[in-house]
């Protein structure tokens, strides 16, 4: 990207992509001493043209590249794409398949939130403990995923028409066991990290995003809910089995980095609740309707919205009489939140030392924003 002209009185720092905390992006910071005057996000280092790739793949084959958009949260992304396909092709999904989908979406959400939570700890310099604890605890979820789908990272388990396979034997008991274990572990996180005096000093009152600003700038997901606005696509535009499931939309009134961290923490609790419900109350029945691998669609235009761990993902799909979509527009949540991050320097005073904390509070995933 071409850089705007540097003002002579301010130092411009290129923060990333080789920076230890930046991820695959570059952020230009205009700093005066420690104070950040302006943030310029330079995205696109991981642009792979997924929207173009999807135009050249059949509906089933497209699931694999699109799941690579967010590796920690593959099921939610795949869920959005598959539900768009189902709407375009008018495929009915059996009830049990919907419940299994919800279960996988929630497990995926916990997985992603745990990662974000650990990175938040690392961004404040709390490297030793919490990041590795979350990594260990994510292994529980990965083991459950492996038991169910056979893969540990990208599952392509949700297919048009249902899900790939039913629960293996004794899987419900393992789910309950995993949920109980994670519940026990989260007490440690709360006491060691969220209630930690130094962590509170770092995160309280930092980067305040007022509710009206959050709406105006198009924030989504935990960033929006951390500003106290109860918007959640799972409630607003229900998909899968969410109408039948009992869960709350988490909001925090404080609007700062701590509020976003707490939203993630408490959303994990809600997801665990959903996991427990699915393990106990899942209805019996078929798990998929037969769909041909090379299914052809009719001309249609559909829009599917799902709540991923980072916010609302919109898939706007145009189809015509062909085995592949005509055009897929992906409204990715990270791109929306990155704009909020860029504007945060104008809304609140941010110091150089706060940049990693603030950027991890919006939980960026640059593969998602760059697509």
């Amino acid at each position: 990207m071409t850089e705007p002209i540097i003002k002579p009185d301010v130092m411009r720092i290129s923060w990333g992509p080789q920076h230890p905390m930046s991820g695959q992006t570059r952020i230009l910071l205009d700093v005066d001493g420690e104070k950040v005057h302006k943030i310029i996000a330079d995205l696109g280092f991981t642009h792979r043209g997924i929207e173009k790739i999807l135009e050249n793949r059949s509906f089933f084959q497209g699931i694999i590249p699109i799941e690579r958009m967010v590796m920690a949260d593959t099921t939610n992304i795949g869920m959005g794409y598959v539900s768009a396909i189902e709407k375009a092709l008018n495929i009915e999904v059996p009830e049990r398949a919907k419940w299994i989908r919800s279960l996988m979406c929630e497990m995926s959400r916990i997985n992603s939130h745990l990662y974000a939570f650990g990175l938040q700890a690392e961004a404040t310099g709390y490297f030793p403990a919490v990041f590795l604890w979350t990594t260990v605890d994510r292994t529980i979820l990965l083991d459950l995923f492996e038991e169910l789908t056979g893969a540990r990272w990208s599952y392509n388990f949700i297919l048009p028409g249902g899900v790939h396979k039913d629960f293996p034997e004794g899987f419900q008991a393992k789910l309950i066991k995993g949920v109980e274990y994670l519940r026990r572990r989260f007490e440690d996180y709360w006491e060691a990290m969220v209630e930690n005096a130094v962590f509170e000093a770092r995160c309280n009152g930092l980067a305040v995003l007022k509710p009206e600003d959050a709406i105006r700038l198009g924030a989504t997901g935990p960033v929006l809910r951390g500003s106290g606005i109860p918007m959640d696509t799972r409630k607003d535009d229900p998909y899968a089995a969410y109408p039948d499931l009992d869960f709350d939309v988490i909001t925090e009134p404080a609007c700062d980095v701590m509020a976003r961290t707490k939203v993630r923490y408490r959303e994990i609790g809600e997801s665990l609740k959903i996991m427990e419900q699915v393990a106990n109350e899942i209805p019996e029945g078929p798990i998929s309707t037969k769909t041909s691998f090379f299914v052809r669609s009719k001309p249609a235009e559909v829009m599917s919205r799902v709540e991923t761990a980072r916010g609302e993902l919109g898939i706007h799909m145009y189809t015509e009489a062909a085995p592949n979509p005509y055009r897929v527009k992906i409204n990715s949540p990270t791109l929306r939140n990155m704009y909020v991050f860029e504007r945060l320097a104008e809304l609140d005073e941010i110091l150089m030392a706060d940049i990693p904390v603030v950027i991890n509070s919006i939980d960026p995933w640059y593969l998602d924003s760059d697509r």
Binding site: E34, E122, T124, P128, N196, V198, R202, M352, D354
Partner: protein
Amino acid sequence: MTHLGLLRAVAANSFQFSRTDAGFIAEAFEAVVSFILNLPWIALEFLQVNAKPLTQVILLPGLAFVLVFAIIAVWFERKFLARAMLRVGPYYCGKRSGLLQVFADFLKLFMKEIIVPKDMDFMFFAAMPVLVSTLPAMAMILIPFDSNWVLWDIGSLSLPMFFAIAGLAPLLPIFAGWAANNKYSYIGAFRVAYMYISAEIPLVICAAAVAIMAGSFDLLKIVEAQQGMWFAVPQFLGFAIFFLGVIIESERTPFDIPVAEVELVFGWRTEYSGILFGFTMMAEYVLFQAWTLMFITLYLGGFNGPVLLGMTTASHIFWLLAKFAALVVLIILIRCVFPRLRLDQMLNLGWRTLTPLAVLNLVFVLALKVLGVY
């Protein structure tokens, strides 16, 4: 002619060497030959006279202590943090203990290329890590390990001298950050400047309170004054402030602000590579060592402790090292428990909390002194 006299003669004659005088050349040749022949005896005499200082330089407060501590501390920290993180830490080098990993890493750092960025002041840049790691080690020669095991016993100057030498250390990162010609190094260097000034003032006030209580600036006398009770008990405030100060001075979490890895890539150490980086890592541990020893000397009774097996000197050294080890474990544990503070919070802590409390501590000590309790 004594050996020293001979040496003096050689030295005196060598100035006149430019004169081409045949007799002089023969004389000089003879002197050199006799010097070489007498070298073992000269060395023996030197050793006899200087046996104790030499042991001290090489062994206890000196080179071996510094190096062994750095090796063990690096290894211990890695293993300890790994346990807190539910990992196993270094594993394969050295039969699962991972002790040899430290040597392997040192060897790796030694072999690596020293990258010299463009437009930098290389001599300045390269000198700083070496100085940063040796200056605090020089401050350590003042620490009494026993009443007759002090390398540089300068009487009532020792406490001010320690602060004078150790107080130089923060200057060097500033130079290093400037010399590296990197924005991150530059910010890191200025963080060092801010942080040390805010931390050093309460430290000096606390040390002054200790000196008043002991009635002397002599570290030995301070230690002897603590035979009945450690100064940590009457001066609990000073104890807590100095403890925080030790962590700040040795740049450890939660005060590792100048090298904050996730904010500034590695602060003032960003551009160092190879063995120079090794020296900067070493400097962290040497600083840590010097300030912790000082902390024990001032507040935790120094080398005082019950005499074991009738060996006074050995048990005194043992007690000092035991206290040192316990503090090291505690400070490393703090690293697993707390995130890093921001610079402004740190400055608030230093100027608004620690400095007034240190003055309060000083007033308290003066009151005790006036009332005649001490």
